[in-house]
Every structure is written in structure tokens, then in C-alpha cells.
Amino acid sequence: MRPDPGLVTTAGSWLRTSGEARFTPRFPAVPGTEYLVLGRPADGEAPWRELARAGVPTIELVSHTVVEKIDPGVDVVPANLLRFAVTFSAQMDEGSAAGRILLLDESGAVMPGVLLEMPPELWDRDRRHLTVLLEPGRIKRGLQPNLLAGAPLREGGTVTLAVDPGIRDAEGARMLEGAQRTYRVGPPIRSRIDPTQWQVRWPHAESDALVVRFDRPLDRALVRRYLHVVDAEAHEVAGRAVLDEDARRWVFTPEADDRDFALRVDVRLEDLAGNSVRRVFDRDLRRSEDDGIGGAHVVLTPGD
């Protein structure tokens, strides 16, 4: 680094006393950054000259963060899979994930252009859960990225989602180690989620739980948000819910003894390929079965 008259001075304030000038930066100094102190005579004509050089010591950050989970939690993903999700053991920094989550092919080579570029990084509010979208233009039939570069996943192959340990946690430290998960690629899923196709075992005795087996693996986060048990007045029933690792089986045990309830499915619930109850991810206008449905909910009752 050399003094350059075009450079902008660092924001902060100077306090000058006899024989001393003290600089207080406007923003906290970042470890590992080097600063130059330049000066020139008061007439302002002479060139700037380096007076001192101050480095902020680098802090040795302790790596402790690991990946706790990679979703989907299935072994076989549809060829039109829309998203992965990575759960970290600690709160993460926003802005370091770009280029550090990669999809690898069978040979371990990076598959370029298959994941949606970051930013934006799709963190949850706690910044421990990062959603990684596959490039939707590559998945959707008929779009230029799909026509020119093909679908991102090939049925019958395998892909590996790899998380590079260079992603930083909220303290700025690299991760303790990276992580990866390999999937086989199955056939695409191109139909709406149809809750009437679910196998529902309604409880009969007080000790029974409600057991729902979906027609396909669903998106874990959206099952939590959009699947509710409601009573006769449409109020949500409190209880304990367990979603299996592969997001296909959901067991709900109500707190109270009353078993007179219904299952309310928000039409925004999505599967692994982004198909919702309301609509197919990319709807083929020639297929009437692809037509979307209206309304905000589908309600399943024991009489169905």
C-alpha cells in the first residue's frame, strides 16, 4: 500500500493537543486491517508522506461450528428438486456462503450454474438454517436456461451437496469442518400435492395419535408451518408433532383427551420439487390435471 492522493480518508475524528494527535475511528477497527497515517506541511502544496503505519492485530478465532443437518432427509431426490437446506450448530455470518455451497457430480466435479447464485442468502431469522435453491430457470421446462443448459439433475445419477468450511460463523471464524450429503436422483415429480391421497389414521381411543402418511416426501419447514390439527371451531389443537427424517410420515398426539378434530392443510404446503397443494411448480397448460385449486386450505376429516 502506498500513499495515493486519490484515496479517501478513513471516517473518524481527530483530537489534537500539543504534540499529540489522536484519531478515533467512526467504526470499530477490523482485526487484520492495516492503516496508513499520512501528513504534509500546512501549506498544502507538498505531496502526502507516510508518517506511520498501524496494523490491527489479527485475532485467532477458534473454529467450533459444524453442519448439523442437510435436508432433504431422503436418499432419493426428484430430478426436479427445488431446494436443499443446511442447518449449522451456531449462528452464522451473512455474506460468506456464496460459492461455498456446491453441488458435485458422480466424479466429485463441481456442477457449475446449478445452484441459484447468492446473494441473497436465504437464512432464517436465527441465521442457523440456510436454504439453497437449485437454479429455477434450469428446472422449469421451456425456459431458456432449461433449453440451453438442461435440467440441473439427471435421473439415475447421484449428486452431492458439499458445504465448504470457509463459511464463517457469527464471530467470523471458519467452520471446524465441512460437510456433504450424497443423493440418488429419482424421477421428477410434476403433480400437485393431493391431501386426499394421504393415508390418514384417525385416533379412536384417547391414547391414540393421528398418523398421516403423505403421498410423497414434503418440505420439512413448510410441514411445520402449514399442517395443523383443528377442533370443531377451527381452532388449532395443541399437541406434539413428529415428522420422520424423510418427511413422509407425521404423527400428532394431542395434549387434551378430545379426539374430535380435523387436519387443516394450507394450500401453500410444498413438496421437494416446489409443487404445492395449490399448484404444480411449472404447470403444463395442456393438462387439465395440472389446473390449480382455489381456497386457502384443504381440510381432511375422519368422515372423508
Binding site: 478513513t10 486491517t33 443437518k69 432427509g73 446473494p119 437464512w123 421451456g142 408433532a241
Partner: protein, 370 residues
């Protein structure tokens, strides 16, 4: 819900000035705080109007911002840009630092080329929260007993200790802000649903907002219909139409009148970007009495589209990539490489952030060069 903010931004995101000044000359700066899924509206004191023909040009922008903020160049990243309606100063939203030292800063680049920090803390501010944020003492009706979730915590219920997982809180990320027809439009992605909802928020914030789902037809023989999050948008044709770029890359027109928050709105695809590319920024400008739209991309050249051709165009039925296509909107690729962020200086000029060598610059591009 609207509220008076008690603290300033936690994270850097898109910026936008409301085009109209108040009677005393104050301007309203909208700043998206991605971490809190909130849009803040800061009231800025009056600034001196720019003289006729004033431009904003800054060489070595990346280096200068880093020096101003006291960080290495990689630790100062532009996350948003807008132009002050009176002074024509460029306001840049910057993510500064990393890890524990990370934080947002708004930097002002004046028509004299000088850079300064915009002190937001002392300004009057209101805010609008995009998601229903869970309260700290949120007592959910559903407990999640999820052994597969590593975030689960032991919790005692009715004398029995169970492993309870917290439902991760949804968060919307803001990718674009636009002022259309007197209201603020907010485009973005959710970390959960792959949704196309476009929010239209009244300002001053009164808690009201409408959301519309904008469906689009694919151009491949009109076979497919889809939804996708909007990446960036701008109004044109006197505020009656919107041109939006989508995450799955089509550039789509729809009518402002249709955005009533009821049912679905269908947009018309007027152009498509190719693979390995994402739309970045979109603006409208006038040249020789005609209106044009500019779309910047992460990898492809600047795309220029005449507004009149969009209105005249019938629904697309053949791929736009087909050179024989007679139905596609005429469009032109401009030779201004490396342009990312764009904002109108006025109707006849656009300020852009442009990559040059290993640095960036701010450049004012006049309509004659576009």
C-alpha cells in the same frame, strides 16, 4: 406492522428514495433491513438541488469506500443504491466488515465526487415489518417432538421431559424496492416458500399492505405457466405498467391496475436471460422522446428494451431465442460491460456501478450513450 424504530439498521439491503420531497424539502429514504425483514423509512434533511447537467462519477469506488470505512476492500460490499431526488447524490448501502464487526453503513457520493457517511441514528424513522415475527415469549400451540432435528431442546411438559424442536422462523429477503403509483413495492424471496408474492405498501406506513401473486407464462409455445420470486422491478408507461425480472430469468410486464391483492395476476414475458445468469437491476429512461428500459445482469450485457414495443406486443408463442421469431420484443445488448447496480439520476441519465479492472466505479451514463 408500522412502528417507530428504536434502533437503526442491523443489515444492509436495497435502498430507494421516494421521488417526491416534502414541502420543506425533506426526502424519504427507504432502506431494507434483511436481517429483520423490515423496511425502514428515514426522513433526511433538505439537500441543495443539483445544478443542471450535474453528474456523479467516482473512480476507484471500491477502494475509496473501503478506505472511508477503514476495512479491506473485500469487507465492503454494495447491497443497494438510490439517487437523492434533489441533490442527485448517490446513496449506497454497504455491508461493512465481517463476523462480530459486521454492520451496515450508508455512504453518500455527491456530484462533486466526494464520499461521506450518512448518519442514520439521529434521523426520524418509521418501519414496516414484512413477516409476522415470532415474539420472544412465543408460546406455540404446536410442540415439535422431532428427534431428527439437532436444534431440539429438552423441555418439561406435564412432568415429562421431551425433546422439543423450535420451528425455525421464516424470513423474507428483500431483493428490490420500487416506487410505483404513489406506493412502495417490495420484491423478495422467502427462505421457505418459493413464492411470487409482491407486496404493495402504503407510505406513510399505516400497517396496510396488499400482496399479489404474479404468474407468468413461459415463452416456449405458451405451454407452461409458473410462478417465481421477482428479483427487481420498475414502473414505466407513466406508472401504469411494471417491468419485473424474475429469479428464473424471464423479464415480464404486468399492469399496475391488476395488482389489487386479489387472485392471480398473469404477466407477459417480453425477454429471457440465458443460463448461468441472474437479473440484477432494472431502470426506465427517456431518449429522443421515447421511453426505454435497461436490465443489468450478473454475466450478460446490459439489455435495452423500448417501452412502446412492450405495449404493442401480443402474447408470446414462440421462443424468443429463435432468430426467426417475429413476435419477440425488439431488444438490444449494449456495450457497457460490468454494470451491476443502476439508478436514475433523472429521466435522461442513469448512474451505474461498473466493474473496471479489479475495482469498481460510479459512472453517469446519458441517454445518448444508452
Amino acid at each position: 406492522m408500522p412502528s417507530t424504530a428504536t434502533s437503526t439498521l442491523l443489515s444492509a439491503g436495497p435502498l430507494l428514495f421516494a421521488p417526491e420531497l416534502s414541502s420543506d424539502g425533506a426526502a424519504v429514504l427507504f432502506a431494507a433491513d434483511v436481517a429483520r425483514a423490515t423496511v425502514f423509512a428515514f426522513e433526511l434533511p433538505p439537500e441543495t438541488s443539483a445544478p443542471e447537467g450535474a453528474e456523479v462519477n467516482v473512480d476507484g469506488l471500491g477502494t475509496k469506500i473501503a478506505s472511508l470505512l477503514g476495512v479491506e476492500r473485500d469487507d465492503a460490499v454494495i447491497r443497494g443504491m438510490t439517487v437523492h431526488p434533489a441533490s442527485h447524490a448517490v446513496y449506497l448501502s454497504i455491508a461493512r466488515g465481517r463476523g462480530a464487526e459486521a454492520g451496515p453503513v450508508v455512504v453518500r457520493a455527491g456530484t462533486d465526487g466526494g464520499l461521506g457517511i450518512v448518519e442514520l441514528d439521529d434521523l426520524a424513522v418509521t418501519s414496516f415489518q414484512l413477516d409476522d415475527a415470532p415474539a420472544d415469549d412465543d408460546e406455540r400451540q404446536d410442540f415439535w417432538l422431532d428427534g431428527s432435528d439437532p436444534t431440539s431442546q429438552p423441555r418439561e411438559i406435564h412432568g415429562v421431559t421431551l425433546n422439543i424442536a423450535q420451528v425455525p422462523a421464516q424470513r423474507s429477503t428483500v431483493t428490490g424496492l420500487a416506487w410505483v403509483d404513489g406506493t412502495l413495492f417490495v420484491a423478495g424471496l422467502s427462505n421457505e416458500e418459493f413464492t411470487s408474492r409482491l407486496r404493495r405498501i402504503a407510505y406513510p406506513f399505516d400497517g396496510s399492505a396488499t400482496e399479489t401473486s404474479v404468474e407468468i407464462f413461459h415463452v416456449d409455445h405458451g405451454k407452461y405457466e409458473t410462478q417465481s420470486p421477482i428479483r427487481a422491478l420498475t414502473s414505466f408507461d407513466g406508472g401504469s405498467s411494471i417491468l419485473a425480472t424474475y429469479t428464473c430469468t424471464p423479464v415480464v410486464q404486468f399492469s399496475v391496475d391488476d395488482l389489487r391483492g386479489e387472485g392471480l395476476v398473469r404477466g407477459r414475458t417480453v425477454a429471457e436471460l440465458g443460463p448461468m445468469n441472474q437479473p440484477f437491476s432494472i431502470v426506465s429512461y427517456d431518449r429522443d422522446g421515447e421511453e426505454f428500459l435497461l436490465v443489468s445482469n450478473t454475466r450478460h450485457p446490459l439489455l435495452k428494451i423500448p417501452a412502446a414495443a412492450i405495449g404493442d406486443q401480443v402474447a408470446l408463442s414462440v421462443p424468443l431465442s429463435d432468430p426467426e421469431s417475429s413476435l419477440g420484443v425488439p431488444r438490444e445488448e449494449l456495450d457497457h460491460p460490468g454494470v451491476t447496480w443502476m439508478a436514475n439520476l433523472d429521466r435522461g441519465s442513469v448512474v451505474v456501478v461498473q466493474h473496471e479492472g479489479d475495482d469498481t466505479s460510479l459512472r453517469t451514463l446519458h441517454a445518448e450513450a444508452l
